[in-house]
Amino acid sequence: MTAESAEELYEHAPCGYLSAEISGGIVRVNQTFLDWTGYTREQLLGRSFDSLLSVGSRLFFETRFLPILRLEGEIREAALSVRRADDTVLPVLVNSILVRDDAGSPVSVRTAVFDSTKRQDYERDLLLARRASEQSEARVRVLQEASGRFGSSTSEEALAEALVSTMHDAFDARAAAVLLLEGNGDLRLRAGVHPIGMSLPRSDSGPETEALRSGMPVVVTSVDEAERKYPALARAMLDAHLEALTVAPLIQGTTPLGVVVAFFGRQRTFDSGALDLQSALGRQAAQVLQWLRLQDQLRHDAFHDSLTGLANRNLLRTRLGDVVLGARQRKTSVALVFVDLDGFKPINDTLGHAAGDQVLAEISERLREVVRREDTVGRLGGDEFVVLCEDADEATALLIAERIRESIRQPFPGVADGFLVTASIGVAVHSPESSRSMTGEGLLHEADEAMYRSKTEGKDRVTVVAV
């Protein structure tokens, strides 16, 4: 057994060794490194180590490895990929140190290279598995959080806001906007910011329209793509410093309710998983939106007359109580106009209920038109209507009542030709000077009595009582 020479130890060490000038050129390399990589010594001398790296590794080497080596004087355990002479890849772990002269200036770099093929394969598998699981975990989390945020929204605006913040969080969107379809088919901004202007959604060829039509997310990955597909949009994107956008429809069943738009400051691509997530968020939001609207509808139905859309007895009773109490506290007057139709029954009996309903609906419209903006018009049932007028003294109430009387006696062309409908009207006015303590029920009763007097005194007239 002979002692190994230092040369032997260097050349056949269980790792690769390289020495390079500070400018990069390799000046010495051991046999192990040559054996591992398949290069000859002549091929490597004068070349830089980073020129042997695969492209991805070289990017890492230049932007991270070298700065650390220069600043710290050494770097350890960097994972890189060396391209062998036959163009196959050797995964390595690398330690480098900076050698300085007596003055402290760096003069050369010493590098040790360890073959990490097995580990790297294994790590690569782990990496891919970890990325995949992180990604699906993140997507599930987005859906779960969105479901919580959406579910706790109590208004369309709150829901739209929740969707906007979900788009920021889930896709790193620079801006996001929720646009909901209006009755007339227009899209209206309900939450977030639409940095490229509201003139665009109206066009028939914009990405919003396309998403609504196709029911699928629409992606614009770059301004170039926008120029090909939506030229007007491309100009607006450039002005707003935007490079990409996505539009996902909000669809309940097959009914589109609106869109959510996400804007990005750089070119972006989205894999199918990301687009599926957008679709899912769109469906989830649409479902909650539909539910909120149903609730609104139910709430509305509970307090409004289904034929005329006027306040019903329930709502009137509540409003009446509130208004009378408020008038007492504020020391203002309040008036209730009670309207009972004359000559309505013959229309129902002769022309049928459908025509009768049409007349009632028409009368409701006339009432809405002739009262003040702040008055509440309600239908108690049958052919009885009331109008609740805050801050109305006797003169004002009489004026309103006369306008009502006049409007009702107008003909109903095409609906009930030849029939005359008039109104017997009673008005109860409660002023702060009154000594009586008045309730809503009391005011209704007094107005009803006054109406009855109009009825018995010949109909088509107004009776006012101060109570």
Binding site: G56, I68, E74, E123
Partner: protein
Amino acid sequence: MTATAPTADVRRRNNVHVLGAASGSPLVFAHGFGCSQEMWRHVAPAFEADHPVVLFDHVGAGNSDLSAYQRSRYDSLHGYAEDLLQILEQLDLHDVVYVGHSVSAMIGVLAANMDPSRFRALILVCPSPRYIDDDGYSGGFTLPDIESMLDALDANYLGWSAGMAPVIMGVPQRPELGAELTESFCRTEPAIARHFARVTFLSDNRRDLAAVSVPTLVLQSADDAIAPRQVGQYVHEHIPGSTLRVMPTTGHCPNLSDPELVSAEILAYLA
């Protein structure tokens, strides 16, 4: 569109350091992807006698406030450009000579296009407006190249290699020392590094070059694998009135490898 940070926090957020003279055109140095303001350690001192010198870390890098890293704000270079303008506003800097390395060159272009009034000059060190080749444009890389760069990042940041390396290499006497030093100078958080890498290497700012109205010097490294010669040439040709200087340097970080040369080029341009 993006929330504006309260100005009192800007200095802390970006770990801003103000050095040098009290008067003169201020020089503001911005680092690229991968490190921190330490990148300017050997360049900045050359200006301190005659100029105020401002150094800072991008949010997510160095000793910046990591809690200020909002992914949606920093999903494009505009967020960084807005930060830069906030720093200039906070320090009330005008007549600024902005020196941006690598991705910070384009950050400077965006900021100068948003508010040219604050800038005297842009010095773009190893700039690239787009790393990926395109029709009629050679950036030097393909999309798979960039993806493999992200793999390389993950391999280095996710910890398995680093964790197992001492076992493979033989446990060093002071295994944590290197990590600590790295921590202090080029500290980064893996998720942020990955995102910043994406934003850096997948951005396309070619359209922004033509809008530059500030006098611009392009400092090109003669042999740079990240921002090759033709890319520097492209930047020069597309920024109206710009000056191109090719330095006889190797690599993407002449501010580290040849700091005297970089300083001399900047001084000569300003003279």
